[in-house]
């Protein structure tokens, strides 16, 4: 069962309300996406932790329903 870009966006926003999220479908199969997420909550924490926050927001779907999610995360400039 693949995921929609919208579902991904909603899950990320639910966990990180102030996030500016853009999700791009890389392959049109609902399985391979790229997402950029900008949030104040990322300020001062490592890129690894930022990505772990996104994976937590996706509630275990990463690596299962969602095969690939290329992530770009940062705090606002």
């Amino acid at each position: 069962m693949a995921m929609t870009a919208n579902a991904i966006e909603n899950l990320i926003r639910a966990a990180i309300p102030d996030a500016r999220v853009t999700v791009e479908d890389l392959a049109g199969d609902g399985d391979h996406y790229a997402a950029t997420v900008v949030s104040e909550q990322f300020r001062g924490i490592t890129r690894l932790k930022q990505h772990q926050m996104i994976y937590a927001a996706l509630q275990g779907r990463m690596g299962g329903e969602l095969h690939a999610l290329a992530l770009q995360t940062s705090a606002p400039e």
Binding site: R47, L48, H51, Y55, G60, G63, A68, L71, Q72
Partner: protein
């Protein structure tokens, strides 16, 4: 192999191998684009690294995700520390952070061109 045994095996591997890559396939024959990219980056930097093929060992494939609390493969470890997956390694390579990480850990490498 029990969960504890897998975790012990991983702990041993990442201690014995300064640069340890858990990947799909092997360095010679990567079987996933993301794994292939990390192999390419490490090879481009002439970093000696060991690999483990999670496709050959389902218990390792799940065990490594538990170990690092990271849901995807590949996973790169430097001196026993989990560094990241394909995205993070690519970004670190582009910003030069990967080069400094290797230098800080005394790992021979050629500086990225």
């Amino acid at each position: 192999m029990s969960q504890v045994a897998v975790a012990d095996r991983i702990a041993k591997e990442i201690t014995e191998n300064p640069v340890m890559l858990y990947m799909k396939g092997t360095a010679m024959f990567p079987q996933c684009g993301f794994s292939a990219r990390v192999v390419q980056i490490l090879s481009h930097m002439n970093v000696p690294f060991a690999t483990a093929n999670v496709l050959e060992d389902p218990e390792l494939r799940d065990g490594i995700k538990q170990f690092s609390q990271w849901p995807t493969i590949p996973q790169l470890y430097v001196k026993g520390e989990f560094v990241g997956g394909c995205d993070i390694i690519t970004e670190m390579y582009q910003t030069g952070e990967l080069s400094s990480l290797m230098a800080e850990n005394g790992i021979a490498h050629s500086v990225a061109a």
